[in-house]
């Protein structure tokens, strides 16, 4: 099962990197979302997969979890990583929109050129 998951992660990473290498900011953001997903899955995989594993909950009347329990630690890490990844994504999106309204382009090459010209006028 881990092998299958690893291949899926590999596909996600390859696609994310390919998108991030594009000069277009929007494609870059698509890549960013994909790579966050890939990393979360990788953390999940490194905590090992329990096939048919039950969630890490303590059943009523027990003191400890019973049976094949999924590893709780990576789950806690991923949970916060997802929320932070969302914060990062939203911030980048806002940045892209700001850049577009200020520079009129989402092409990172063109941005670099217009940045110098517009330094005084637009980027307040």
């Amino acid at each position: 099962m881990e092998t299958l998951l690893a291949i899926t992660i590999g596909c996600l990473v390859a696609a994310a990197v390919y998108l991030m290498l594009a000069r277009d900011m929007l494609r870059f953001l698509f890549g960013l979302t994909l790579i966050s997903n890939a990393v979360n899955l990788a953390i999940f995989a490194s905590g090992r997969i329990t096939v048919g594993g039950v969630p890490p909950l303590v059943p009523d009347g027990e003191k400890y979890p019973v049976g094949d329990v999924a590893n709780a630690l990576p789950q806690a890490l991923i949970l916060t990583a997802i929320v932070i990844g969302f914060g990062l994504f939203a911030f980048s999106l806002v940045l892209a929109m700001r850049a577009y309204s200020a520079l009129g382009t989402l092409d990172t090459d063109a941005m670099r050129l217009s940045e110098a010209d517009d330094e005084k006028g637009d980027a307040a």
């Binding site: 916060t80 929320v83 969302f86 914060g87």
Partner: protein, 139 residues
């Protein structure tokens, strides 16, 4: 989007989502849920409201500014962490009070851990709404 059906339905759904989000927050210590999930659900409710009725109305319904909610949440979480200082424990050590506890019955648990989770809830909800409202107003 001035669909009457959407607007009406959304009011109902937002109310349900808000109640549900608090439910998820409170049960989080023992069942799937918690501050992160609760905050996300609450935020989703207001995001839907903003889409259906506009951000201005969503802001009005929220009453407080979302960025203030986030900051208050951060403060609540920090206070919950600092509370352990009163009991000479290390930072962020959970403190528990079991109301009405008796033999074999734990009673109603109140804890700084719950307060901390409420802080998380507020930060997540406030933070996301700040972002989303700002983005939508940009359009």
């Amino acid at each position: 989007m001035n669909s009457l059906i959407l607007t009406t339905a959304t009011r109902l759904i937002v109310a349900i989502l808000l109640v549900f989000s608090v439910f998820m927050l409170l049960r989080g210590h023992n069942e799937p849920g918690g501050g992160f999930i609760g905050g996300l659900i609450g935020a989703t409710g207001f995001v839907m409201y903003a889409i259906a009725c506009g951000t201005a109305e969503a802001r009005a319904a929220l009453r407080a500014a979302p960025e203030q909610i986030a900051m208050v949440g951060l403060g609540v979480a920090a206070l919950a962490g600092l509370a352990s200082a009163l009991f000479a424990d290390p930072l962020f050590t959970g403190q528990w009070l079991f109301l009405g506890a008796s033999e074999g019955e734990k009673g109603l648990p109140l804890s700084t851990v719950l307060v901390f989770d409420i802080g998380v809830y507020l930060v997540v909800m406030g933070g996301i709404l700040t972002l989303v409202f700002a983005l939508e107003e940009e359009i």
